[in-house]
């Protein structure tokens, strides 16, 4: 497949970029943060996103979706990142949707219409490691009871349905669903550096329903795919931070000159431009592979995520440094980008994790 957007994809991109720029500019995110919004997102915006078809990109038209698939999800994630839109998109309409699709769950319809929000609870420490999950699931009548602790759960305190990875008596990993407000479920919203929504969930015998008992087999392909969408989100953050910085270089004067005339800064900007462009290519290739469920999907996913993390780190660090003092102020937007980039990088494995995995998958 050609590594360019087709006509429909180009239109989707234009409409997504236009929509978010108009409906949810950076000031919208700043205001959510400043008023310490409890849900962390704008539910009116979310309804409009559903109307735009953004909540059902992964469903084909026959399934009632818009059929844009992963390339479409990448386009929307990238556009959202550009203006720091805060929404349950990736958690609910990418990762949870992929799992609900593959397990044939009945929840899917309400999630893809945007009426219900679903999320996945995986991590138990500061590092992604699904194999090390300790949360226990014990059979209890028709259902199960979960006990354990999950951290870094996106939208964990607002989601209607929480998909939980837990370990059975006989040491197998399975996926369960827990409903919002379930008994013996303790939800702590965590305020994190990026001012978005994360939660710690504590299960103390929380009732749950079995979703899938084939271990990581459903989960890992879904994580691969969401990681590519997260890479697209990182790319959006990177590009926006870069554009903001380049604009500043054209405007700020020091020593009687526009600082963008200094070759030291020019060369670093040009290098960063090249890094961003190669990052963009691997992400597009990986998104296409996700749509094709290509055999080398895992390798491409790890390559795309590792590269996106690295480029985002460079771009946001350069962004602050090139802005100088003003970049350190809360009043200026560049700081939002460095904070969100680190959060997105950490979700489901960062640069080191995926570089290591890339090598392993490549047989060395």
């Amino acid at each position: 497949m050609a590594l360019v957007y087709n006509e429909d994809q180009t239109l989707l991109k234009e409409s997504a970029v236009g929509f978010f720029k108009e409906r949810s500019p950076i000031t919208a995110f700043r205001s959510l943060r400043d008023k310490r919004d409890e849900t962390g997102y704008d539910s009116d915006l979310w309804s409009e996103m559903a109307e735009m078809g953004f909540t059902s990109l992964l469903l084909s038209e026959e399934e009632g979706g818009t059929g844009f698939g992963y390339v479409g999800a990448g386009i929307v994630a990238e556009a959202m990142a550009t203006t720091l839109v805060s929404s349950p998109f990736t958690a609910s309409c990418v990762l949870a949707t992929e799992i609900l699709k593959s397990t044939g769950s009945a929840i899917l319809e309400r999630v893809s219409s945007g009426e219900a929000i679903a999320t996945v609870a995986l991590d138990e420490t500061g590092h992604y490691s699904p194999e090390s999950v300790k949360t226990k699931a014990i059979a209890d009548g028709d259902g199960y009871k979960l006990s354990g602790m999950k951290t870094f759960v996106p939208e964990g305190h607002t989601a209607d349905h929480i998909i939980v990875l837990a370990r059975t008596d006989d040491d197998r990993l399975s996926l369960y669903t827990v409903q919002k407000g379930a008994a013996n479920l303790i939800t702590d919203r965590t305020v994190m550096a990026d001012s978005r929504n994360w939660a710690k969930l504590t299960f103390e015998g929380t009732p749950a329903t079995l979703l899938s008992d084939d271990g990581l087999e459903k989960l890992i392909p879904a994580i691969d795919k969401v990681n590519i969408v997260l890479a697209a989100e990182l790319l959006g953050l990177t590009q926006a931070a870069f554009d903001m910085t380049t604009a500043y270089l054209k405007e700020r004067k020091q020593f009687g000159k526009i600082i963008g005339t200094f070759q030291g800064l020019q060369h670093r900007s040009a290098h960063l431009f090249a890094e961003i462009e190669v990052t963009r290519s691997i992400i597009l290739a990986a998104l296409q592979a996700a749509d094709a469920s290509a055999p080398n999907l895992s390798m491409l996913a790890s390559a795309a995520k590792a590269k996106a993390c690295k480029t985002a780190e460079l771009a946001t660090n350069e962004g602050i440094q090139m802005h100088g003092g003003i970049g350190m102020t809360d009043e200026y937007d560049i700081g939002f980008f460095i904070k969100r980039a680190r959060a997105v990088s950490n979700l489901y494995g960062g640069q080191n994790y995926h570089t290591d995995r890339f090598a392993t998958l490549s047989g060395y």
């Binding site: 500061g126 994190m192 780190e313 003092g325 350190m328 102020t329 700081g335 960062g350």
Partner: protein
Amino acid sequence: MTDLNEFRSEVRAWLEDNCPQSMRAPVMSEDDVCWGGKNFTFKSEDQKSWLNKMAEKGWTVPTWPKEYGGGGLTREEAKILKTEMHRINAREPLLSFGIWMLGPALLKFGTEEQKLEYLPPISRGEVRWCQGYSEPNSGSDLASLATKAEIDGDHYVVNGQKVWTSYADQADWIFCLVRTGPQEPKHTGISFILFDMTSEGVSTKPIKLISGKSPFCETFFDDVRVPRSQTVYVENKGWDVAKYLLTHERTNIGDLGNMVPLSNIAKEEMGLDQNGQLNDLMLRQDIASHEIDGLSFMMTMQRTMDRAKAGEGVGAFSSALKYYGTELNKDRHEFMLKIKGSDALEWEGQSSMDGKTAKDWLRTKANSIEGGTSEVMLNIISKRLLELPDE
């Protein structure tokens, strides 16, 4: 040598007797630091008595002459005092811009009257100073500053605005660069003046940073009257004082101090595998490389001090130290983030001490901006040490 050994014993005994137990613990947060000044509230009785006892000995500023409130110690003695304090983890009794910056400037450029008037209160932590250098349109290009001090008899009338004034809202007095002469050539016509922050026409406004903290202010001067006698060194020659201080500051900023090795933190957080290697092998390599750089940098700080002792000037080399040290420190905090993973990004709550890791990390991003950006340091190295030509 015997004298020094004797001195060491005396210091050790004195510290044993006088350093309160609670002051023998690492500084855990910015709140633990004693900055002194009229607006300062001591966090504990121990903090207060520790300051007073040290100030009485002159050991808040050990190498300053005794007549100005110092300890009158030689370099060697001061080093012994420092070592002995480290040995018992004794906290610095007092930190301040008065000690780091104004003091050295006055010692070199001040009149005898100025030294006697300003230095002792600094040494006792009675007066807290802030630094008025940067302005909105002169960050790296400090010499382009525009704050005006017009002469009106034996006073100046100061008008203008400073930014990045550290703790201006807490400070009692300011040392300030102002333009008393022509705009061009930029470096002449600048004076280094001192005045009271409670003077009529001075106002401050804290700047909120990306770390959520506000250690800096914008500071406004509206017809502030300052006696001309409060000029340090010669009128219109303030740039010489500022240059001297910048060099001085760079040498200090380069100092990473006594930090916990990154690898210890990594071991604690991530554990070792069956081969005794860090549980993230990629991080292991990066940390090892970083620690080798860190060790090399520490040795460079040491070598620089030893060269200074041997009579070699440091001069522009301080720019290399400032550059390397601040870049290293930024790297260190990026590694801290990687070591702690998503836990590092918590911003509120007890388990993260209200986001200490994340906020410290963001704070380091200013290391390579304040006190001269890394780019300016590289320019200085290039022009003054490598003598690469100007256009």
